[in-house]
């Protein structure tokens, strides 16, 4: 069971570390990361395996949102099913 974390905001040192650090803390295994920095803006999409996660999805979302607020980033967490149902037949 995977979830997708998206991070958008102004580039600063340690964004990737902070987000993946939080994932490690809750035992969510990072499967794939795509990230780019365009004109000073940081955009990252991270697919994480949440089947062994030690908090539930809404808790993880709250923690990620709080992390985003601290660092002035927009962080969203969504279950993978929604993307699969929308984009795959």
């Amino acid at each position: 069971m995977n979830a997708v974390i998206s991070v958008i905001g102004k580039d600063t040192v340690g964004i990737l570390a902070a987000v993946s650090g939080l994932c490690a803390q809750v035992n969510a295994n990072v499967q794939d990361v795509t990230q780019s920095v365009l004109g000073g803006y940081f955009a990252m999409i991270m697919v994480v395996d949440i089947s062994k996660c030690n908090v539930d999805l809404s808790d993880l979302r709250t923690q990620l949102t709080a992390l985003g607020q601290d660092r002035n980033l927009q962080i969203h967490l969504m279950h993978e099913d929604i993307f699969n149902s929308m984009h795959r037949i």
Binding site: S6, I45, M78, H79, I82, S85, M86, H87
Partner: protein, 451 residues
């Protein structure tokens, strides 16, 4: 593997383009609650609703949390109360108050089904229920009423049409101190459907199972944004793009509906493919039509653009869902759509044009504010016109108009929330009194020789 652009597209739809699940509606049959003692019947109804729907709001929130997609409304539709009233007799308002109490206990936004189906005539309970509608709407906050006055197979019950003109007016009068909210919760249908999840016209038809989950998706903002990004292209391309977008929106509805039904342990009914606008900026059906190329919604060309939009939404949505039903089409509720409000204020969108638009889309003259001094006969005549369009074209049509007591053309009526606000629109000045007073029935139309 999902591509970055697909992931970003979905996130943008939800974060910026107001994509949401408009409603998950639980349909509950009350046929087994009928009792010759009205108090006992009310108690059975309260028990059944609060048992069946006790987890509805909780499950809705869990799904919101899981997928990160807003589910704006959690609602309930019940068997038309006239059926239960037929057995018990007594004061129909008692049922309305029971439903209100149940709605409060389970925490839903609206509960629909204070309804009667009288397309061919009045059965026991029907007339009493209809007469009680203004009082039921005055005394409750979350209860919605609807009356079906005609169908393609039966024709139009003009006695009921006459009655509904009076009921709509009275509903406005008794709620004049609450911005005439009464008639905003009252729909008069022709060809009403039994599985509609949208309010105010939802009720749980007698052909439906005991309990069922129906889902209404939304997303005018997404369709408009997709069109805005389109460079050039003819109308075939436009229709194609709308189809693809509708497919994506509906897939999400299907996912949420199936998940909700499983979590609640009830069968999944249908996904309603309607494009339902809200007063929020960017969530407007009128703005889609303007994006297609109209200077303002309501001008010449509006009917054609809307017909294309409506058809493309259905074509895209039908493939995305295992079961499509309800009203399925584009809604054009004036007070709930920022673009429609602007067009009505500018005088571009008139009642006559709206009537033409209802011939090609779902569902009818919806959330239209009319002057407070409108006569019941004129309201009945508006209902009759709209029912005739539905009857002849074998489609659902409805009328939800709000006489703004004490207000004139040019003034505004504010409801707030999803119901929005609407300018008072002018109606014809000549009377239809004599025709409405005739009553009787308009016979069912011929189903062949279609021209």
């Amino acid at each position: 593997m999902l591509s970055t652009s697909e992931i970003l597209e979905t996130i943008q739809m939800i974060q910026q383009e107001n994509l949401d699940i408009r409603t998950i509606t639980m349909g509950i049959s009350l046929l087994d609650c009928a009792d010759t003692d009205i108090d006992r019947a009310c108690e059975k109804i309260y028990q059944k609703i609060t048992t069946r729907a006790k987890d509805l709001v909780k499950v809705g929130q869990q799904i919101e949390d899981k997928y990160g997609i807003p589910i704006v409304n959690k609602r309930i539709s019940v068997t038309p109360i006239s059926h239960v009233l037929a057995v018990s007799g007594g004061d129909p308002v008692k049922y309305a108050l029971t439903l209100e109490r149940a709605a409060g206990t389970v925490g839903v936004n609206f509960l629909g089904g204070f309804s009667a189906l009288v397309q061919k005539g009045f059965a026991p309970g029907d007339m009493e229920l209809i007469e009680a509608i203004p009082e039921a709407l005055r005394q409750t906050e979350h209860i919605c009423a609807s009356v079906n006055v005609g169908s393609t197979r039966t024709g139009i019950n003009m006695d009921a049409v006459k009655m509904m003109g009076e009921i709509v007016k009275k509903s406005a009068e008794v709620t004049a101190d609450k911005n005439c909210i009464g008639p905003a919760k009252l729909v008069v249908f022709c060809n009403a459907v039994e599985d509609n999840p949208f309010m105010a016209g939802a009720f749980h038809g007698v052909g439906e199972p005991d309990c069922v989950i129906n889902v209404g998706v939304s997303g005018p903002g997404v369709v408009r944004a997709a069109l805005a990004k389109m460079q050039g292209g003819d109308l075939t391309d436009v229709a194609d793009l709308i189809k693809k977008t509708a497919f994506k929106i509906t897939r999400m509805g299907q996912l949420v509906g199936a998940e909700a039904a499983e979590a609640l342990g009830v069968p999944f009914g249908i996904v309603d493919l309607s494009l339902a606008p809200t007063p929020a900026i960017g969530d407007s059906v009128a703005h889609i039509l303007e994006e297609i190329g109209l200077e303002q919604c309501g001008t010449h060309g509006t009917t054609a653009a809307l017909a294309m939009l409506n058809d493309a939404v259905k074509k895209g949505g039908v493939m995305a869902s295992s079961n499509v039903g309800g009203l399925s089409g584009a809604f054009i509720p004036v007070s709930e759509d920022a673009g429609m409000i602007a067009a009505a204020k500018a005088g571009t969108l008139t009642l006559e044009k709206l009537e033409a638009m209802t011939a090609v889309c779902s569902v009818g003259l919806d959330m239209i504010v009319v002057p407070g001094d409108i006569t019941p006969a004129t309201i009945s005549a508006i209902i009759a016109d709209e029912a005739a369009i539905g009857m002849v074209n074998s489609k659902t049509t409805a009328v939800r108009i709000i006489p703004a007591i004490g207000k004139k053309v040019g003034e505004e009526l504010e409801f707030g929330g999803l119901l929005g606000s609407g300018p008072v629109m002018p109606v014809g000045s000549k009377s239809a009194e004599k025709m409405i007073a005739r009553g009787g029935r308009i016979p069912a139309p011929l189903q062949s020789l279609k021209n």
